[in-house]
Symmetry: C2
Subunit: 633 residues, 2 copies
């Protein structure tokens, strides 16, 4: 008989999160390029909404000159982006089963650098969620300035909604995100096209429909340090680019082909957007406004109003920015649990991260992501600008380790084609390594130190988890057959309160276990215990008459009115007395018909069980004899 367990009730949970999916339903969860762009590209594309803004925020002190520097800074970022793109296009066919930075780094650079890549990625994904949501709410506040005081609650509510959506599983979320992504790309392309047209017609100096915020007075002159910091902030526009190579497995066959097309399209769109935004910011003299203050307005909001005014196009665009930024977190919701799962399968994270839940998603990974992202949003008040310095390091460190791993991969593979790929990946590794150092140094004091501390801490934690599992497995593993000698019935201890049907049930079960049964009663000096006097009549005589073993009774005096302490000490004493025996503590317990009735009774059985588990030795086992009360009110 092999019974098969099926669920047959529809619950509130099913309604919210969808019915549970069986493992064999997994095949249908596959993705083509058109669906892959929103699912894996949201992160990369959404970055366009805060990357340029982050760079411009640092240029505020330069006044008008700042908006001129945005063009060379954006060009550097685009060049870097192109290098990384070519590099990842090499990775995809080499790792068709999913070439995430963790996999590539640990296979080619060893487990330690692999864990470093995993930690960097995890922290990056947490920040993607936090920055995506805070930037989306930033867009909302640009359109509706009176909502500014509710920034943090809005961020938290949004996080909750995304979480519920993602607990439903990948395929449906892909469908949900399709429309807003294309609306975002479409409206931004539209605004850029109109803006460029107007700029050309006006000979480079277009009149804004709605004037952007006045650029502030110059308070600093452009120095290399300031420009480096601005470049580092702008690099946040590149986060999310590795998502495709991570998720090759989710694509429809031929997987590598579909994944490559998806990646190239995403990066192409991103480059157009970054370039367009930079040119229009210079043409329309659009700078950033000080973040986290009232009067804040996002760069994209200023840009679209300058190009088209505040009509339906403006509100459609801002709505699509809001939705895309908020849903950007979705990339992290798809990828963070995947990384956790890969790490957990190698024993470096708790096993629960490797188990899929009812909807084939890795539920524990989602919980961990939500808790961490929620904590970071709360800590930084939901203000994007405060989060930016923590960001990008994780992403660029993972880029670097992944490309460096690919270099060693191609070296091992050998051959002409491999040498060509090795060169491309090597260029990628060097460029991203340099950027990592630049970001780390230029942002260290403003918050990057948090990330720099967290990554090694996370690596240490993961190594500890693995060590624990190894030691435990070493302790409990066995390949031997069942040992068949040394069987002996346990010594049984039965705590007795009063003489009731509950204690009789426990005592009767004890007598089926062993010939050696000890009843134990705690007497307080305040009330004499009737059970001691009645024991011969109630227990000893009938047991003797029936030829059963005769249970003894021990009475413990407790002047301090404690009950649990004396019982615990007594069981430990019995354990010492019977050196080579198992001690079975038979615990009568009352199970009430309703949970609220449990307030009417002490929880001694539960407490004593917990104490025996933690303080007892290896030979103590606990038998719970439940009495199920039918008293209903």
């Amino acid at each position: 008989m092999t019974p098969c367990y099926h669920r047959n009730r529809m619950s509130v949970i099913d309604f919210l999160f969808g019915r549970p999916l069986a493992s064999y339903e997994e095949q249908s969860e596959s993705i083509d390029a058109a669906k892959g762009i929103p699912i894996f590209g949201l992160d990369a594309l959404g970055s366009a909404a805060y990357g340029p803004e982050a760079a411009l925020t640092l240029l505020i002190p330069l006044g008008l000159a700042g908006v001129h520097y945005i063009v060379p800074i954006s060009i550097s970022i685009i060049v870097l982006l192109a290098i990384v793109c070519f590099s990842y296009l090499q990775t995809i066919p080499a790792y068709p089963a999913g070439g995430g930075s963790y996999t590539v780094a640990s296979e080619n650079l060893g487990p330690n650098l692999g864990l470093l890549a995993a930690a960097a990625l995890m922290i990056d994904y947490v920040l993607v969620v936090a920055v995506g949501i805070s930037a989306g709410i930033g867009a909302l506040i640009s359109a509706l300035p009176t909502w500014e005081p509710y920034t943090l609650p809005l961020c938290m509510g949004t996080l909750l909604i995304i979480t519920v959506i993602n607990l439903r599983g990948v395929s449906e979320t892909g469908a949900i995100f399709l429309f807003p992504t294309y609306l975002f790309v479409g409206s931004l392309f539209g605004a850029i096209a109109i803006g460029l047209g107007k700029t050309i017609l006006a000979g480079g100096h277009p009149m804004p429909v709605i004037a952007p915020h006045k650029l502030p007075a110059v308070t600093e002159s452009a120095g290399l340090w300031l420009l480096l910091k601005s470049f580092s902030s702008g690099c946040t526009a590149m986060t999310g680019v590795e998502a495709v190579s991570n998720g090759v497995q989710a694509f429809r066959e031929p997987r590598a082909k579909h994944a490559q097309i998806t990646l190239a399209t995403i990066i192409g769109i991103l480059i157009v957007m970054l370039a367009g935004i930079a040119i229009l910011c210079r043409a329309y003299h659009i700078g950033a406004t000080p973040p986290g203050q009232s009067g804040y307005q996002s760069v994209l909001s200023q840009l679209v109003s300058a190009v088209t005014g505040r009509g339906w196009f403006y509100y459609t665009s801002i709505a699509s920015v809001l939705i895309v930024l908020v849903l950007q977190a979705n990339t992290a919701f798809a990828d963070f649990p995947r990384v956790c799962r890969a790490v957990a399968q190698n024993g470096y994270l708790p096993r629960a991260f490797a188990n899929r839940g009812r909807r084939l998603v890795y539920t524990h990974g989602i919980y961990a992501l939500v808790i961490l992202a929620g904590a970071i949003l709360a800590l930084f008040g939901g203000v994007t600008d405060r989060l930016i310095p923590l960001f990008a390091i994780g992403a660029f460190l993972a880029f670097t380790l992944s490309q460096a791993g690919m270099v060693l991969h191609w070296k091992r593979v050998g051959g002409r084609h491999a040498r060509h790929s090795m060169f491309i990946n090597g260029a990628g590794a060097i460029a991203t390594a340099a950027t990592t150092v630049v970001v780390m140094v230029s942002k260290f004091a403003e918050g990057a130190w948090v990330t720099v501390l967290m990554i090694p801490a996370l690596v240490a934690l993961m190594k500890n988890v693995r060590g624990h599992y190894d030691r435990l497995l070493n302790e409990i593993s066995s390949k031997d057959p069942l040992p068949t000698s040394g069987f002996r019935a346990p010594v049984v201890v039965v705590p007795m309160d009063n003489w009731t049907l509950i204690s009789q049930k426990a005592l009767r079960f004890a007598l089926t276990l062993s010939d050696e049964v000890i009843g134990v009663h705690v007497a307080s000096s305040e009330e004499p215990s009737a059970i001691k006097e009645d024991w011969p009549r109630l227990v000893e005589q009938p047991a003797r008459a029936a030829g059963l073993p005769v249970p003894k009774l021990e009475v413990l005096q407790s002047p301090y009115r404690y009950v649990i302490g004396p019982l615990l000490e007594f069981v430990l004493e019995v354990e010492r007395r019977y050196q080579d025996r198992t001690i079975a503590v038979v615990m009568p317990s009352l199970v009430e018909a309703h949970w609220y009735h449990s307030f009417l009774h002490n929880q001694r059985a539960e407490l004593l069980t917990a104490l025996l588990l933690f303080r007892g030795g290896d030979r103590i086992v606990i038998v719970n004899i439940p009495w199920r009360s039918h008293v209903d009110s």
Copy 2:
């Protein structure tokens, strides 16, 4: 062997709450009149600080005329107080073991009216704590007006401090409260004496040192309704008078004598204070200021500044008012748990209320009081004036039931002396019954309805608790000896995950219990289970060779990756299959060396145990076989 359990470690808890006291140490906790006044009189005496103020607050709309009416209103209250005092002086010798309203009412008027008295008293004590603390903080704010925004946090912090003090036990708290009580009485008597002297010297129209708040313009004329409401509010000055008769048992021998002296002294002091405050308010034209608003100043604060100015005497007086009002709650901390205990001993409240804790105080009663008082403080923002309408009803209802009970008591006793006492108690009963009705009607709309609803709700709750205990006792009680027929070994089910030392330990214990052992393994379709193939080699063959019973293995398929559900269903199925057998579920469980390691493992054993307890039938017992891991990091 009767081991005696003694504690021998000094813990943080000991430091905070004092070392535990054994029952035989109780004798030393006895009290004489000098100690009895602060312990049992704080409630009654502290009322002088808010009773007159509550009456004056309602007279605000009358302007200057209001401060004239305070004298006749105070006279009515003092007369009522004298009647009640004589009445309780009769009760004390009649109930030397403690004649609380609950005891007197339930012994003489039956259990239902007894519960009504208990409920009224409990609610009264909760309000004593809430009002005492809020009025004390009100005094503090009068002296330090800038602290007004922190009213509620100050109230809550104070509640916490009192709680810790009270958890240490009665005797020590008596010592702590001695000094501030006498300081309060002394400084108020001083202020009254100086004020009366100045008034007489000035021919009835003294000049205030610091002018009290200007009395507002007249907005209403004096009507009977307004005066009744003012009297009802003023009656809060009488709460706490029953404390002595409640606690006769705590006094030193001869108990009744010490208690009577204490009660008469307390009421005498209270009458002097009420009369003095009323006369001085009229002489100095001191009215109440609107409460819960900035600029609030308590009547006592105005009175002392008017009489003596704001020197050291003022600050000493206000400090003593603050401390006494705050410590007034102490009466309730001594008496609320006593009432709960008496009720719990009759089975009308959970048994835990009848158990004394480590310091011989009734810990659960203290917890209940703190939670209720904290909730009420939070609900009403810590503003005394909002709490006053809820107050007094409970106290007067308990007065009435207690005196009415005494009338029946004397009737039963008979004789000349009894007839005299019956007359006094009857007068008390009529006076307090009339006052109860007046307070209830005049305050109903402003908040008394809350109390009027809560008292019967509490009575219903207590009757339900008793009903539950009765039904449960009926279900489980037994006077018969242990039944000795029908013993049979259980059918044993052992959930097996993998073949480890943990599962071996469980399986070996199962084999000592019974010949019928069923191993059960849940297989997910994703990973094939090795245990099924190896079962003959690992278990069946060695068991057969050793002449042991041979355990079977059942494999459950679970396409939804659930483990607990299938196991639960399987055990319930086994229970159905073996109709007349006990089913023992032997649960291997991992006990980690450190609590935080439990995150690394699933909690399946705990969850399955809980589900089996709640969903299983009467024949399922659970055996917990702990594996204590020694892995330390």
